[in-house]
Amino acid sequence: MIALLIRDLRLSVRAGGGFGLGLAFFLIVTVLVPFGVGPEAEILGRIAPGILWVGALLACLLSLDRIFQLDFEDGSLDLLATAPLPMEGAVVMKAVAHWLVTGLPLTLAAPVFGGLMSMPAGGAWWMFVTLLIGTPALSMIGAFGAALTVGLKRGGLLLSLLVLPLYVPTLIFGAEAAARGIGGFDASTPLLMVAGITAGSIALLPFAAAAALRINLR
């Protein structure tokens, strides 16, 4: 499992695309929003947590189709399926690798980008915490979506259509927790809900994703 993780990490860093691209996309979204909304610090500060969350979600979405597609095309996914490692374990490792190259950088970058959105003091901390708890769920749900569409030639758009509705609860609770935390309210309920979604996704979705992969490899 660790070997698979290291292999995936190496591939994504060396092949280019995954690591920097998502982060750059996130930065562009954060820069574009003030152009559209206007530079007033008050408005920007209020919508900042939502925009950062949506931006992180979209950046995460961008690289989802790479989770399984390349391995499916060159046949290494078949090897993984016949390997002693259960498919579920492979799925988890793939999701972890995706999170390490997408979710984690986004989480680290969000507090910095929050400065661009004139977020109030203390906002950086809340963005970091909510994204740290929420982005693993995004990667895991995304891995499930990627497993569903892995056999398709042009699966990218379909993947977005499938995954975005599944992202709704995570986004709602995550952005709500950040907004409440920044506003000085009690954020424990939404925060616990995000943590619950993340834990539940990691516990259960690998089985669904592995089932989908087996069906696609049949």
């Binding site: 749900i141 509705p165 599944l166 979705l205």
Partner: protein, 257 residues
């Protein structure tokens, strides 16, 4: 001992699983279909005409209140059809009955149309009553999310060529999607109450509606259930026939080669 018991349990349900045989399903549904269609037309005509023309106009709402005879049944069906698709998907995954998978596929379009009807009639009603076609009310929002789930489900069916693979994958999606759709429902509730305290726009219809409106509404609800069954039978029969045509074509191609 254990085997005998499971076998007996299975035998007890045989009358139900007999429907899963495509040939039997086609014969039975073919016989039932005219009756179902007739009953649908009858109940819908009675319910809608009673509701539209023979109920008093409500004090605060005027005649616009009568849209509930379309709005409430379509909204109810939009949710129930998703549940039916979930059950059909489970049956397909567990017992591999083709009719079940095809029924789930056939139900999706009816479900999406019901969702659109519910959203549209709600918007038409909302404009004079709330002063807006759309508000991010929890109920409205969760229906929009349900609509997106239907779209994703249908898109996945359309995208995959092999019918059995498509049935498997959409079934998995239906199960996972159900969990997340339910989660979204509560998330949306939480989200809006958290932002606009007390600005709830939804009516608790069942409590407010008096008997005068309730009786035709029940007939309309029954009519919509029958309508769904009729449409489901027609569409499932189409899917079964399509599958047969496909099989015939494949056989033809094999004999040519």
């Amino acid at each position: 001992m254990d085997n005998v018991r499971t076998k007996q349990a299975r035998d007890g349900w045989n009358w139900l699983w007999a429907w899963a045989n495509p040939v039997k399903f086609m014969a039975l549904s073919g016989k039932a279909l005219p009756w179902v269609i007739g009953l649908t037309i009858l109940t819908l005509a009675v319910g809608l005409i009673w509701g539209f023309f023979f109920t008093p106009e409500a004090v605060n709402f005027g005649s616009s209140v009568k849209i509930i005879y379309v709005h409430v049944p379509s909204a109810m069906m939009a949710i129930n059809i998703w549940v039916m698709m979930l059950v059909a998907s489970l049956i397909w995954l567990i017992r591999r009955h083709h009719v079940s998978a095809l029924a789930a596929k056939a139900a999706a379009l009816v479900g999406v149309v019901m969702t659109i009807i519910a959203l549209l009639t709600g918007a038409i009603w909302g404009e004079p009553m709330w002063g807006t076609y759309w508000a991010w009310d929890p109920r409205l929002t969760s229906f929009l999310v349900l609509f997106l789930f239907y779209l994703g489900y249908m898109a996945l069916w359309a995208a995959i060529e092999d019918p059995d693979t498509a049935a498997d994958l959409t079934s998995v999606l239906a199960i996972v999607g159900s969990v997340f759709a339910l989660l979204s429902r509560y998330a949306v509730n939480f989200w809006n109450q958290g932002l606009h305290q007390g600005a709830s726009l939804s009516l608790d219809k069942e409590e407010n509606v008096s008997d005068v409106y309730w009786q035709p509404l029940v007939i309309c609800l029954t009519g919509f259930v029958l309508l769904f069954i009729a449409l489901l039978l027609v569409r499932t029969r189409t899917e079964v026939r399509k599958r047969r045509i496909h099989a015939l074509e494949m056989r033809e191609r094999m004999s040519d080669a």
